[in-house]
Amino acid sequence: MWSTVHNPSVPSYEMVKKINNKLQIDYQKGLIESRLLQIISTDPKINILNLIPVWVIEINPKDSSKALNGVKSVTEDPVNLQHVKRVKKEAGKNTLTVLVCSKTYLSTEEEVIQMLSSLNVPDYTNLRTVEVPDHGPNIKELSNQWTREHWPLIWKGNVNDQILNDTVINMDFIYSHLKKISEKSLEIEMETQKEKDNTALPIVTLIAKGPEIVAMESDKRSPTDPLTHSIMSCIDQITSTQKLNNTDTSHQYLLQGYDVYTTHEPCTMCCMALIHSRINRLIYLKQSCDTGSLRSRYFIHDNKYLNSKYEVWEWVGSEDEQISNHSLQNNGLLDILLPKVCNVRLCDVEQFGDNSGDTTEEIRPSCALQLFREAMHSDKGTGLLGDVQWDA
């Protein structure tokens, strides 16, 4: 079970079971069918290597279970070591190297010797410190690389790959809903251009349960009505209808199972109103850099400190002029794809056995942009980017 011999062959890409899943999923970019970009809050340092010192000993392989039972009974170590294997088999040695504890926990050799004897760990040699990664990355290839270069890690799979694989997407009605709000938005824009006094914002929201539309509202805010944003209006409309049709006052006021389609990344108030309403999913067309509170800041839909979560996707499809004009005017698209592009590079480096590039080094934006373009052009004509003009 604790066999740790590393096989240094070419790393294989993680295979996610795709039974019944006919969707085309790009797990690294978080992109489904080249149209829906997953918006999640990820730790920006997740794939950055940081080493910490730990105490190790060498033991005879026949003593391994005794030694392991001993060191695993230490529960007071403040450093989480669940991502590393406890035993390493080094090439050319007939001993096993066992990780005892972090140096943060015990700082001196004497303390470690004392603890090992109290734990009845059998004869050991070569007590010393080595450096191990302080956390595991979310890319298998990187996990293998850190294992090769530093210390064996435990790979439990990328949780988000499974989430992407389990995502149920019906592109037909998603597209139809988005087209509807996009057309309405354009209509409002045309009207405001015609009439000078008309200051209506071209923001439209539609709430649906699968293909069935239950509410659609445009933005009605004004100086005397500053909070009547389209999402708030939709929620009000649905809940007042529910109240009319439902005399039972049990907890049925929530919008569980409903999906929200909206032209613009919503503000903090609306994002949180959707948490309170327990919606299932939100898809938006265009990022709002100043006030948006999903991808632009806060990731309110995916904040572990708040009491609930929902899925969020940005539409990046380009086959329809009208919808794509909305989403792709947006130069900010690059911001979110950049880190993902950097991940592509990390994998490429390892895959081709090119160790000349320092993988922890920050990749310059221009370089990343170039990689991004290459990656997109090799996308075999799915046309994620269409004819977007990149204003650097």
């Binding site: 909070l227 919008l255 309170h276 100043d290």
Partner: protein, 283 residues
Amino acid sequence: MTDTTTTPISSSPASHILEPKHHHFMKQALRLASHALHTNEVPVACVFVHSPTNSIVSYGMNSTNDSLSGVKHAEFRGIEEILSKTCSLPEFQTGGGKQPIEIFKEIELYVTVEPCVMCASALRQIGIKRVYFGCGNERFGGNGSVLKINDDPQVKDLFTGYVSYPGIYRKCAILLLREFYTRENGKAPEPRQKKNRVLKLDEFPEIKWKDYLTEEEFLRFYGLTNRESFQNNTDIIVPQADENEEADLFDTLMADPVQDISDIIEVSSQPLCLANKKQKLQL
């Protein structure tokens, strides 16, 4: 951002918290919360006060259960009432009145529980002057407990934000919430005798002042004498207040089967009176 309360700290040993209006208005909010509790709503409520005239201009109670809507928080009812009162002023209808944003910058909110992330954003978008609240909200508080929406410079809203001061009748606000959750669990104990009810300090979570205010903002409002509270995350001490005042208040709120709030409804149903002259609070 810094508050407009501009007296230098050193020259102002008497703290603003001693002004009786803060406890007076929070007490009204607590009475409304108690009313909400007795009508099976989450006991969170608020009053909006026009600060130049020291008058309650609207109120709100949580009504998520009655409306079957998760977004019907107390603050929204209060905001809507002010908006509709603004629009029905004769001078507004003839085109000469103040716009709502000019009115909100003279309005302060007293709410029993920290505004949630949604309400914090709404209050900022309307340009509220200042907020006072009782207890924090660890699950979705938007004035510092989870996010600090009220004055985060990251958001480029119309307004840069507002300062909020927590801790006014904090224990009472917490006890009302506890009362609701024990009732809902169906494990409501028999009402305890008044003399048995003791507010023990160690039964309450600490108040992490630094989540809500800088030390300077804190000292300006609560005074130098409360500096230790800021450092130790403990409740502020209001010298004149009777030690048992808060416990007695809670008992009074619990004693009435349904808290009579007709006086607050009456006051806030008056048309907006935006006299320029400052008026002292009549208690």
